[in-house]
């Protein structure tokens, strides 16, 4: 009984991880009482289960995964979808439409449409089969798709959705993260989309560093202030919801930044900003209600 790695150590394929009564889990294999790593990744021990968290890898479907797929073919009562990775998926009309439906199912969804769906079944012989019966599973209209490494998706979602919820709240965007490494982003404003992409890319790059949620939070708040700073001079309709307190804190953080790399006009503006902000909080809450309504409609 011995363990031959430190917590979160980077291990390589073939490296001996543990000896004795340990259970081999994802990213490891078991051979004559010894557990070896089969991947490059971070080794982790939980109870007596040894696991290696992959740092790279293609998307391999798993039952219950939420994925974002692009329809590549309509075949009879099935849609064929590209969900990334080595396996193309199929979605049967019964799992997507309420009966009765028309003979030609391309009326409902056609080649090129982007959907969110759940993996219903997948094993070595058949599948993957998708279903759209479920909360939030729908055709995704408008917006864009960002592709990231599927291995980094857990980090983008965060513990119980902490990361993605934070990003959605701060930027007030609609987004959906598929386990297959695709992120659908919809926002009214190109600037915001760019910022969202920047955030996701940063997370992907720095996936195995600590305090990432906080750093992303700071980064986004700062950037949002900059965007809003330039916006308020022209119009003041797109406002992320945030409390006055947040504003003050963020302002303090960002001011040191702005002094360095922008003109001094910025400072005067940022003071103005706060006043406008307070007025706009009411607007923001209105907008929030609107959004709730649209969500209901979607369902």
């Amino acid at each position: 009984m011995a363990v031959y790695f430190q917590k979160r150590e980077v291990v390589v394929p073939g490296q001996l991880l543990a000896e004795g009564r340990y259970r081999a889990s994802y990213g490891t294999y078991y051979e004559s009482d010894k557990v070896y790593s089969s991947l490059v990744g971070l080794a982790e021990l939980r109870g007596n289960t040894v696991k290696v968290v992959a740092l790279e890898g293609a998307y391999i479907p798993k039952e219950g995964d939420l994925v974002i797929g692009i329809i590549t073919m309509v075949a009879g009562n099935n849609w064929k979808l590209d969900i990334g990775g080595p396996y193309g998926a199929s979605l049967h009309a019964n799992n997507a439409l309420r009966r009765p439906y028309a003979d030609d199912i391309s009326e409902y969804m056609d080649i090129g449409d982007v959907i969110s769906a759940e993996v219903q079944a997948f094993d070595r012989v058949s599948g993957p089969f998708l279903t759209m019966k479920g909360r939030g599973l729908q055709v995704l209209e408008g917006g864009m798709i960002l592709e990231v490494s599927p291995a980094k998706i857990p980090r983008i979602i965060g513990r119980r959705g902490s990361m993605i919820n934070m990003i959605n709240d701060l930027l007030r965007i609609d987004s959906m993260v598929g386990q297959n490494g695709r992120i659908w982003i919809k926002a009214d404003d190109v600037e915001i989309v760019r910022l969202a992409i920047k955030a996701f890319k940063t997370i992907e790059e720095q996936a195995h560093t600590s305090n990432l949620t906080d750093r992303i939070n700071t980064m986004l708040t700062e950037e949002m202030n900059k965007i809003r700073g330039s916006k308020t001079t022209q119009s003041s309709d797109t406002k992320p919801k945030s409390t006055v307190e947040d504003e003050a804190v963020a302002e303090g953080a960002s001011s040191s930044e702005t002094e360095d790399n922008t003109s001094d006009a910025e400072e005067d503006e940022s003071e103005l900003d706060i006043e406008v902000e307070i007025e706009n909080i009411e607007d923001a809450s209105d907008a929030e209600e609107d959004q709730d309504k649209t969500e209901e409609v979607n369902e």
């Binding site: 089969s38 696991k51 080595p86 980090r155 979602i157 993605i164 993260v177």
Partner: protein, 271 residues
Amino acid sequence: MSPEIKPDFLISPEGLRVDGRRPDELRPIELKVGVLKQADGSASIRQGKTYIIAAVYGPRELHPRHLTLNDRAYLRVTYRMATFSVPDRKKPAPSRREKEISMVIANALGPALFLEEFPKAVIDVFVQVIQADGGTRCAAINAASLALADAGIPMRTLVPAVAVGKADGTLIVDLGDAEDKYGEGDIPMAILPQTEELTLLQQDGFFTKEELLECMQMGISSCKYIHELQKDALKRAYVRKAPEDGDDDDDDDFDDELEMDLGESELMEDE
């Protein structure tokens, strides 16, 4: 490069080889992981003057479909030499030799991979020889196994490979081009280091049984050394990719973050 001339001796009176190495000495080896942006995994190797880049794509959908294997992934290795990789221009058309080496590399790497995890898919390995100076198939195996690991493909172990041989009656490891051409024989070999199982063993030239066994022992110990270099290169690439810029100090938080790294993949956000 001027036209080649046969060296007067392959082993000098002092017992050193044409490039001044001892008989059991490897050429300097430089391994780099993640050299290509586009590929899913990549690695390069410099072994003396030999320079090779390996790129891995996949597992991905297999085309043409008729090659599909229903119980495992198809490992497709493509070994190519650049036209400028040798002194006389190499014709760009795929040669018989390239096809053979592609197959030999696939056979050497196959046993180390868990191909059965990706039935019907393909794992593409592209090996491009930029500069050839002997030992390209072994160098290619070294680089390709790193590229496979970089692509996140599950494998039992990295695969080190080296050529051993005989020149002027002396047994030598890691043959250079001149030793390969004018020596008495060479034996490229690849092993799975944990078990010392051979996944590649070819021979060219004549060896007595004793010579062969001694050669293989030399090869195995050289392979083990190369294996250490491979592990080191791989770890170096990933430790650098995971910079902990000073916020490493709070260990409690560290653990928290880790949890979230690991377990929560099944949780998806609810819109």
